[in-house]
């Protein structure tokens, strides 16, 4: 029945009402159109998601490469020149500076009168945590002295904690469980706002990955540690795979700390290293719900895990020597195809006349030879390392069984049978983990025995996903609460959000194309023997899939990446015309350029390590040396003279040192469309990192 006021309209004789049949037909038509539109929008959202995930996972494969390079450098450090080796060994295998274990590390640091940020007094009280909250909301930075004191006190507290924390719901109200935050302060503040600040009434478990990627890792982790000190019985933190100083080198936390704390950054990072390794690795609620950051493996043994010295596993990426063998970098798994020689695997031969051996997996150790199969049962510290890494790095998979997670470089893919067995063995009923971004902020798998909870909304891009947290009470039934932080004041429609996310994903994807250009072209040319510049859509998709090894719907994406020729085939050169290098450098050969583009992040990290005093400058000799090592490790053919020419050409001041920030700027991929849009006064949509 239409509402009363329409009766008035319908009795208006000047307009004739349409017949009911016509009305119905009209309604069906509109509904049909609209549903189709929404379905296509959903499809775009799906493949945007696929792009982000694939690139993220591929990036983690790069991480494996970098880690093996670090290990290689360290194992060969006697062959490096003086400065580099001390730095590297200090950063990778640090000896704790005894200075940092005493209160002097912080109480000698003066805090100037002009400092208007929070002045914490220990032991902390609610007014201190409130002060932190307000300060961070107003973009203030906590003074280094208080950071160090906070970390010092946190370290003291964590030393007293066991590896696995046991909680009970009988003394508290519901327990709130949050997943990855990755330096997203807004999400943390939103959770506190919606759910309440940590207290006896509102206990929390934060399941790891507090830092890296987001820009406010310092603030997030400071708040979490402050609440931990304030309410050690109601605030619980699990370690994540990003609570690891080597991961921090690559994924942004180290950089953030050094930028915010120019004088004391080093000490702060050293203390973080200790604190991170002292974080408990698991939490159990009522003996029934197990909470860990990544997951489990078929080797996971909670009793053994309780007994180990967890702080000895400083980084998952500093492999115990023997375990390096077990990692087969070229191993194919769910998302990878076997290497077709496009990426140098561990088996690649040394193509250069370099004085170093580059094959990491065959570096001879002082105490044993690596290439003896099968390895004897691993010694104690390897087992400990493995237990911790499995907990922090594993991912669930739908198929039964347990296979090494070569994608991430550590941990396993564990199937529903592994879950079942572990839960049964320890009398548990549920596994809650994080580690993977989910569109709705949470996801069930393994027949409801595993929940993934992820608390960083808009992780890939504005609108990409929601964040969520779980509340669980005495009945142990999880309830989910979702949210999404909105960065713009204007509310975006679904269409706009999809468009922004899509734009960002496609940009990231195009950068991949650009940095793999020569391999893509040579693969495409195999399908184009007559050099017409065109290949069929199938061949195009095939070439891209095999070179980039990203599991994406290439045919669906084709319209965004390449133009068609009049006959319906793909004009493949059109894939690369949208992008160009930042500043063209004449001395750089195409091969070298591509390597620099592709490994830009990694090279930056290495430079940062070598640059002891954070001046942004390294000596030409160090540059040359590092570059040669890195390319030798990658198996890239680089002319010695080309490196020298390059080094000399970027020493703009001719003073023997290189400003590597400037150098790296040249190898940032620039999107031509961005420049055009900026010229036209529009803002380019979406960020790319």
């Amino acid at each position: 029945m239409p509402p009363a006021r329409w009766k008035i309209l319908e009795t208006d004789d000047t307009v004739k009402s349409p017949s009911p049949a016509l009305t119905m037909k009209a309604a069906v038509l509109i509904q049909r159109w609209y549903r189709r539109y929404m379905a296509r929008l959903e499809m775009r959202r799906r493949y945007t998601w696929n792009i982000f995930q694939s690139i993220e996972y591929a990036g983690e494969q790069d991480q494996l490469q970098l880690s093996s390079f670090f290990s290689f450098m360290l194992d060969n450090f006697t062959q490096l020149t003086g400065n580099g080796s001390d730095l590297i060994s200090q950063l990778l295998d640090p000896v704790v500076d005894p200075w940092l274990d005493r209160e002097i590390c912080y109480n000698l640091i003066p805090v100037p009168e002009s400092y208007t940020g929070p002045r914490l007094s220990f032991p902390l009280s609610v007014s201190d945590t409130n002060a932190l909250l307000s300060a961070f909301k107003e973009q203030q930075t906590l003074h280094a002295r208080y950071v160090l004191q906070l970390l010092y006190e946190t370290k003291k507290l964590l030393k007293q904690m066991p590896n696995i924390i046991h909680l009970s719901t009988s003394y508290t109200n519901e327990i709130t469980i949050c997943g990855d935050l990755h330096g997203r302060l807004d999400d943390l503040l939103l959770i506190f706002y919606k759910n309440g600040l940590p207290s006896a009434e509102t206990p929390y478990v934060f399941n790891g990955d507090f830092v890296d990627r987001g820009k406010k890792s310092m603030e997030v982790v400071s708040l979490l540690f402050a609440y931990l000190l304030l309410y050690p019985d109601y605030m619980h933190l699990n370690r994540g795979n990003h609570e690891d100083h080597i991961m921090n080198l690559r994924y942004g936390f180290t950089k953030e700390v050094m930028q915010k704390y120019k004088t004391h950054g080093r000490e702060i990072l050293q203390l973080f290293q200790d604190v991170f390794s002292l974080l408990p690795v698991a939490t159990v609620i009522d003996g029934k719900i197990l909470i860990v950051h990544g997951g489990i493996s078929d080797q996971t043994d909670l009793d053994f895990l309780s007994s180990i010295e967890r702080h000895k596993v400083k980084s998952a990426l500093r492999f115990p020597r023997r375990s390096l063998e077990q990692l087969d970098i070229g191993h194919s798994c769910k998302r990878m195809r076997s290497t077709a020689g496009s990426r140098p695997s561990s088996h690649s031969k040394n193509q250069l006349s370099m004085p170093y051996t580059i094959n990491v997996l065959q570096v001879p150790y002082l105490d044993s030879l690596s290439s003896v199969p099968p390895p004897p049962p691993p010694p104690q510290h390897d087992r400990e390392w493995r237990q911790v890494v499995d907990i922090l790095w594993s991912d669930p998979k739908p198929q039964e069984g347990c296979s090494p997670n070569t994608f991430r470089g550590g941990g396993c893919y564990f199937g529903p049978d592994v879950t079942r067995r572990l839960l049964l063995r320890h009398g548990l009923q549920l596994l809650i983990r994080s580690h993977e971004c989910k569109q709705e902020g949470y996801e069930f798998c393994h027949g409801g025995q595993v929940i993934t909870i992820f608390s960083a909304s808009n992780y890939y891009e504005e609108g990409s996903n929601r964040g969520a947290y779980i509340k669980v009470g005495r009945e142990l039934v999880p309830r989910f609460y979702q949210y999404q932080v909105s960065r713009t004041t204007r509310k975006l429609t679904l269409t706009q959000r999809v468009r922004v996310a899509e734009g960002s994903a496609l940009k990231a994807l195009k950068e991949k194309l650009f940095t793999h250009r020569s391999e893509l072209l040579s693969s495409l040319q195999q399908y184009d023997q007559n050099n017409t510049g065109c290949v069929s859509v199938s061949d195009w998709a095939q070439a891209f899939e095999s070179v980039l090894r990203l599991d994406l719907p290439w045919r669906t994406l084709r319209p965004h990446l390449a133009r068609l020729a009049p006959d319906g085939s793909v004009d493949y050169q059109s894939c690369f015309e949208d992008m160009e290098p930042g500043i063209p450098l004449a001395q750089v050969t195409p091969n070298m350029a591509e390597t620099l583009f592709r490994y830009r992040t990694d090279i930056e990290i290495i430079f940062n390590i070598i640059d002891k005093d954070h001046s942004g400058l390294i000596s030409i000799e160090e540059f040359r040396h590092t570059w040669r090592l890195f390319s030798a490790h990658l198996g890239v053919d680089v002319d010695d003279r080309a490196v020298d020419d390059l080094a000399r050409s970027i020493d703009f001041n001719k003073d023997g040192s290189i400003d590597f920030t400037e150098f790296l700027e040249a190898f940032r991929v620039v999107h031509k469309l961005d420049n055009k849009e900026q010229l036209n006064g529009k803002t380019a949509g979406g960020k790319c990192s």
Partner: protein
């Protein structure tokens, strides 16, 4: 979006659809929703998949297809059943697109006075009570996206151009 070059000769663009290509297209759309990598999708995603392949079925049409391919009320659809059925649909152009002007006429049926807009309540009444009823969620999303919030009216010509402008996947 990259603009394809215009076809040169008279018959240059009309290539006969090769069945293999159609299969690939369908498979690609299907696997986007195959979360467990076992060549099945949840039956609730089938509509999205079919729409994304360029078809314009009604809900009734969708129900017919689902009845044909669903695995005995399991809630899942297997690729090997879906593929032949969908291939036939595509090759026979079974659910061709509805031209934009028909959509405009449909709105004008509802907007008898041809004012060019509809009040949200009126639109809600028609779409949630008539035809293949919208759920409350669908109605809310449509109104959020397409109502002129200052005037609280739905200018349907704008709506139509948005729906029609959606780039082909």
């Amino acid at each position: 979006m990259m603009e394809d070059k215009q076809s040169a000769g008279p018959c240059a663009s009309t290539t006969k659809p090769v069945v293999a290509d159609v299969h690939k297209k369908i498979t690609a759309a299907f696997t986007a929703f195959d979360y467990e990598s076992n060549n099945t999708v949840d039956v609730r995603e089938i509509g999205t998949i079919i729409y994304s392949l360029g078809c314009f079925p009604t809900q009734a049409d969708l129900h017919d297809i689902i009845a044909e391919v669903e695995e005995d009320n399991t809630g899942f659809i297997a690729l090997d059943k879906f593929l032949p059925v969908m291939t036939k649909v595509l090759l026979e152009h079974k659910f061709p697109p509805i031209p934009e002007d028909q959509l405009l006429q449909a709105f004008e049926v509802l907007d008898k006075e041809k004012k060019g807009y509809l009040v949200p309540e009126v639109l809600t009444h028609y779409l949630t009570q008539e035809g293949e009823l919208f759920t409350q969620e669908e109605m809310d999303e449509m109104l959020t996206a397409f109502t002129d919030h200052q005037k609280n009216l739905v200018y349907y010509k704008d709506l139509i151009s948005q729906l029609a402008a959606d780039p082909g996947i």
